[in-house]
C-alpha cells in the first residue's frame, strides 16, 4: 500500500466483509436447512442455527433417497458424478495431448485442415446442438451409458490449444538432442514431453474436474434412468412441485453433498485452479 488511510482501510474491509457475507449466506442457509427437520423449515421464519437432524437427513439421502420425486440413493448419484468428473478430464487430457503433439511435432498433409477442424469446435457449445446430438446418441445406443455421458464432453479445443501453446515453449534443442541420441517420436513424447507437461495437466485436471462434476444439460438428456443420475440431476429431480411440497431438508443435504467435492478441489488446490482458469482462457 502506498499511503496510510485509516478510513479507506475501514471501507475496504467493510466492502469485503459485506461481499463475503452475501457470497457465503446461501451456503450457510443450505447447511442449516440440511440439519433441520422438514417441520422446522416449514415454520416461517426457519431457524438460522443448525438443528439436530444432521445424521438423520444425510443418512436418509445417502442410502435411501428422498420419498417424493426421485427415489434413487444419493450415494449412487455421487458415484456417477465421480465417474463423470474423472472420465472427462482424463479423456480430455489424453486425446488432446496426443493431437497437439502431432500438430506441433510433425509436418504432414492436411495438418492445417485438422487443426481448424478441432478449432471450430470451440464455437459449438452443447447447448446449441441439443436435439441433433441427442438423436445421434440415441442412434448409437448410448443413452443411459457412461460412454454416452462422457464421450461427447471430452472433445474440446481448449485443452488442445493449451498443450499446443505449452509445446511451443519447449526448447527445440531437446527434440534435437533426442533425435541425435536415436530416440523416436514416441520415446521423446514419453520421456520428455509428458514429464514437462505435468503442471499443465494438473491445472487442466482441476478445471475439467469441476466442469465434469457440474454438467447439467447433457446428463439431463442422456441419463433418463434413475440409476444413471448424477447428483446435480438428482437435486433437480427431487424438486417436484410448489415450494411447500418439497422435502427441503433432504434437497439441501443433497445440495451440500453436490457442492462439497468441487468446492474442496477449488479451495485445496487453489494454486492449480487459478493457473488452470487463467490459462485455459488465454
Amino acid at each position: 500500500m502506498v499511503e496510510k488511510r485509516p478510513l479507506l482501510d475501514f471501507i475496504t474491509h467493510a466492502v469485503l466483509i459485506v461481499g463475503a457475507f452475501v457470497i457465503a449466506f446461501p451456503l450457510y442457509v443450505t447447511f442449516v436447512a440440511s440439519t433441520l427437520s422438514l417441520e422446522e423449515i416449514m415454520s416461517v421464519p426457519m431457524p438460522l442455527l443448525p438443528g439436530s437432524h444432521f445424521v438423520e437427513n444425510y443418512s436418509q439421502v445417502l442410502f435411501a433417497g428422498s420419498t417424493g420425486g426421485s427415489k434413487a440413493a444419493v450415494l449412487d448419484m455421487l458415484l456417477n458424478s465421480t465417474v463423470m468428473a474423472l472420465a472427462v478430464p482424463l479423456g480430455k487430457i489424453t486425446i488432446s495431448i496426443l493431437s497437439s503433439f502431432a500438430i506441433v511435432y510433425f509436418r504432414f498433409p492436411l495438418r492445417n485442415f485438422f487443426f481448424w477442424m478441432i478449432f471450430v469446435t470451440l464455437m459449438l457449445p452443447v447447448e446449441v446442438r441439443i436435439i441433433p446430438t441427442f438423436k445421434v446418441m440415441a442412434d448409437l445406443g448410448l443413452l443411459n451409458t457412461y460412454a454416452g455421458l462422457t464421450l461427447p464432453l471430452i472433445a474440446s479445443a481448449t485443452a488442445t490449444f493449451l498443450f499446443r501453446q505449452f509445446f511451443m515453449t519447449i526448447p527445440d534443442e531437446l527434440a534435437e538432442a533426442a533425435r541425435m541420441d536415436g530416440a523416436g517420436p514416441m520415446r521423446f513424447f514419453w520421456d520428455v514431453v509428458v514429464p514437462l507437461s505435468k503442471t499443465t495437466m494438473a491445472a487442466l485436471f482441476v478445471i475439467q474436474f469441476i466442469y465434469g462434476w457440474n454438467q447439467y444439460l447433457w446428463p439431463l438428456l442422456i441419463a433418463s434412468d434413475e440409476s444413471m443420475y448424477t447428483v446435480v440431476i438428482g437435486i433437480k429431480r427431487m424438486i417436484t412441485g410448489g415450494d411447500a411440497a418439497n422435502e427441503w431438508n433432504l434437497i439441501m443435504a443433497t445440495a451440500m453433498l453436490a457442492m462439497l467435492p468441487p468446492a474442496l478441489v477449488v479451495v485445496l488446490m487453489q494454486k492449480w485452479f487459478v493457473k488452470g482458469l487463467v490459462e485455459t482462457e488465454k
Binding site: M42, M46, R107, T121, V128, I210, D243, P262
Partner: protein, 293 residues
C-alpha cells in the same frame, strides 16, 4: 509459430490425431450438420414424413412474437448479468488488492461459488426466495414487499439474475485480481508522489490498464449468460411465468425436447450458432490485439 525440429512419419501423426478427430466428427460435425439439415425441413406430427421447406422455419420464427420476445428477454438478462457481475467483482477485486491482512480468507470465501453447479446455484437461491417459506421472502415481507416469483415475471427474472451473477462473481473476481496484481507498483507510487489520491489513481491509471481484462470478461460473461445459465433457469423458473424468463437457449430446449418441434428448434439452433460464432470472432479479434499490446 512453427517448430524448427520435427519428426517424420507417414502414419504416426494421423494415429495420434485419430481419437480427437473421431470424437469431433461424431459428436460435433454430424449433429451440427443435422441441425442445419433439419432447420430446412418440416416434419409431420408423428415424425413419419418430412418435407424440404427452404427457409420457412426461419421465416416462421421471425413472425413468432414469442421468439422475438425471447430475444428481448435474452438481451435484458445478459446485459444485467454481465453488467452487475463485472461491476461487483471489480469493486471486490479492487478492495481485495488493497488488503494485506486476511487477504487469503477473503479470497477463499469469494472464489468457492465457482465450484457450484449452475443448477445447484439456482436451487439455493430459489430456496432463499421461496414464496411461502423463504428466509429472504420473510425479510422482504417485513419491508412490505410482496414477493412471489412463481407468478410475477419481473421477480422471476430478478431471481435468475441474482443466482447467475452470484455464481459468476468468483470467475470475474479472479481475473480482475490477476489483472490488478500485474499493474506495476511503480506506476501507482509515482502517481501517489505526484499527489494523486486513491480515487484519482483508480480512474486514471488502474481502470485504463484493466480495460483489456474488462473487455475480455464482458465477452465471457455474455456467453455465460447466453448458454451456461441453462441450469439456473431449468432448476428454478423453467422459462416461466408466462415465458418471462425464457432465454433463447431455453427455448431451443423447450421447443425441441418438450414440444418436439424439430424443425423450429433446429432453426433456432442454427441462429444461436451464428450468434456464438460472431461472439467468438469478436473475442479472437480482441485476443490478437492483446498479443500486440
Amino acid at each position: 509459430m512453427e517448430k524448427r525440429v520435427v519428426f517424420r512419419s507417414a502414419w504416426l501423426p494421423y494415429a495420434l490425431l485419430a481419437p480427437q478427430l473421431a470424437i469431433t466428427a461424431v459428436f460435433f460435425f454430424w449433429p451440427a450438420g443435422q441441425a442445419v439439415w433439419y432447420s430446412f425441413q418440416l416434419q409431420d406430427a408423428f415424425g413419419l414424413h418430412s418435407s424440404f421447406v427452404w427457409f420457412d422455419n426461419f421465416a416462421a420464427l421471425f413472425r413468432d412474437p414469442h421468439y422475438l420476445e425471447s430475444f428481448k428477454t435474452t438481451a435484458v438478462f445478459s446485459v444485467a448479468v454481465a453488467g452487475l457481475g463485472i461491476t461487483i467483482s471489480l469493486l471486490l477485486a479492487t478492495m481485495a488488492d488493497r488488503v494485506v491482512r486476511g487477504a487469503l480468507v477473503y479470497k477463499t470465501v469469494l472464489i468457492w461459488p465457482y465450484a457450484v453447479a449452475a443448477a445447484v446455484a439456482g436451487v439455493l437461491w430459489a430456496f432463499l426466495f421461496a414464496p411461502s417459506i423463504g428466509i429472504v421472502t420473510y425479510v422482504l415481507k417485513g419491508f412490505g414487499v410482496d414477493w412471489n416469483w412463481i407468478i410475477k415475471g419481473d421477480q422471476a427474472m430478478l431471481l435468475i439474475i441474482i443466482a447467475s451473477v452470484w455464481k459468476q462473481i468468483s470467475y470475474n473476481f479472479l481475473f480482475f485480481l490477476a489483472g490488478l496484481q500485474s499493474i506495476p507498483k511503480s506506476l501507482i507510487e509515482a502517481a501517489a508522489i505526484d499527489g494523486a489520491g486513491p480515487a484519482r489513481r483508480f480512474w486514471t491509471i488502474v481502470l485504463p490498464l484493466l480495460s483489456p481484462t474488462a473487455f475480455f470478461l464482458l465477452v465471457v460473461n455474455v456467453v455465460y449468460a447466453f448458454f451456461d445459465t441453462f441450469g439456473v433457469i431449468d432448476a428454478t423458473t423453467q422459462g416461466g411465468p408466462a415465458q418471462a424468463t425464457q432465454i433463447l437457449v431455453y427455448k431451443v430446449y423447450h421447443d425441441g425436447i418438450k414440444s418436439a418441434d424439430i424443425g423450429g428448434s433446429s432453426a433456432q439452433s442454427v441462429i444461436l450458432m451464428i450468434i456464438v460464432i460472431a461472439l467468438t470472432a469478436v473475442q479472437f479479434k480482441y485476443i490478437e490485439r492483446r498479443v500486440q499490446y
